[in-house]
Symmetry: C2
Subunit: 257 residues, 2 copies
């Protein structure tokens, strides 16, 4: 069996998230990215094939570079051919960007050493219609310098309980944050955050809190207190899902493909 790793992009708008859900439990079929990918893999392999993602993304969250691996019983076709084979049968809101061979022990989730998310904000101007599904439209232009001063607190090994969600079942709330920075790009503000892993809804809680605190003229000292209090009740509102992209997944510092 070949172990194949894909970079997968999806538009989360019409998906109930990455993870396949039990149709019977939900009462009616639920559209998920994993479900669509496994259907496409089944079609080209003529047998069920499991798609393993680097992590779950929630309903409405997009991906530019989700990492996915699967074991293929076909050993006759060049790995690059999986790209058109899958894309020709997948719906347009899921696209395979690249494909590569991986070691037998490679696992998109357990082998991943770093995840990078980008969150897109539009403030101080009206977003174009075609940007609306992919940016959080703010009424006001936030202060990037202040956002970055607060975001600078998000570095290294941190207990992220403040930015955890009610239903989070993680044993440890500690994560190693490598990068957390805001920068302007083509009329938008992008927040890029990289960590070894993230708690459920953590990025949206961080972005929502930073924007909310900036609007309230809070500073980095205040944000540091909130962070170190390890109390979810101190976080700001969670930012909407549609501004968030799983941007890339790294494996021992490499992008694999």
């Amino acid at each position: 069996m070949r172990n194949i790793v894909l970079t997968v992009s999806y538009d989360g708008t019409r998906f109930c998230g990455w993870q396949k859900q039990d149709k019977a439990a939900a009462g009616k079929p639920v559209r998920t990215v994993q479900g669509e990918l496994e259907q496409a893999l089944h079609r080209i392999h003529h047998e069920p094939v499991a798609a393993i993602g680097s992590g779950r993304t929630d309903a409405g969250v997009h991906a530019a570079g989700q990492a996915v691996n699967f074991f293929s019983p076909i050993d006759s076709i060049p790995v690059q051919n999986y790209i058109p084979a899958l894309n020709s049968t997948l719906p347009h809101d899921v696209r395979v960007i690249s494909a590569a061979e991986a070691d037998a022990g490679f696992h998109a989730r357990f082998s991943a050493t770093s995840r990078t998310y980008r969150y897109f904000l539009c403030g101080g101007r009206q977003a174009y219609a075609h940007e609306m599904p992919y940016v959080w439209q703010l009424r006001h232009l936030p202060d990037i310098a202040n956002l970055n001063a607060m975001a600078a607190c998000l570095h290294g090994e941190l207990d992220c309980t403040t930015f955890s969600a009610a239903g989070d079942a993680s044993v440890s709330k500690c994560r190693y944050i490598e990068k957390a920075v805001f920068y302007p790009e083509r009329g938008n503000i992008v927040f890029e955050i990289a960590a070894n892993a993230f708690l459920w809804k953590m990025v949206r809680s961080i972005v929502g809190s930073l924007v909310f605190f900036d609007r309230q003229k809070k500073d980095a000292a205040f944000f540091s207190e909130v962070l170190h209090a390890r109390d979810r009740r101190l976080a700001g509102p969670t930012a909407p899902a549609h501004g968030l992209f799983l941007w890339k997944v790294e494996f021992n510092g490499e992008r694999r493909h």
Copy 2:
């Protein structure tokens, strides 16, 4: 009555084009940008208000900068306030980007002196899922130098019959083309074309022909012959609607707002 000019952006995906259509004739309600805008104008004015566009865009075609004017009986509110007032009642796939006062004689269609369209092509790579509704995905990377050599024929006063559509009712097929150029941008190829006005489906016919001829290794001399033959049967296939954006409309060399 105040004459107000808006810059309007829309995502054409779920629209049957700009122009309002007769519901009775179509048998069921048809969703159009003009229809949505006039509903929103009616809502904020409490009376019917006509929205005049700089030109019709077809089903599936987007706009970053459609120019629209309307006559408002309200003289109490600052013109900038029309932006949030309209956006709060419009669906998300239509956004008012700017608003300005215009002279009584200003007419978005008759006063427009130049229209610029951009067509987005993705070749040599797989487009991301969130780009798919806005680019024409090509199987191969076209030759930009050759496309530009051909496009250089599109300059000045030209009889554009070759790129006209079967149903075109225009008396004259002559248009003045100011600019027609391909350039790379963020992994895509953009075709920008500006003219005083365009024939129905002309931009899509030009883009489709240029890409088709480039793929067939035709050169500028060939394209020039096709152009000057004034025969629609010599044009290539029409490019899909979803790669096309009405980018901006100018009035005596100005963008008005």
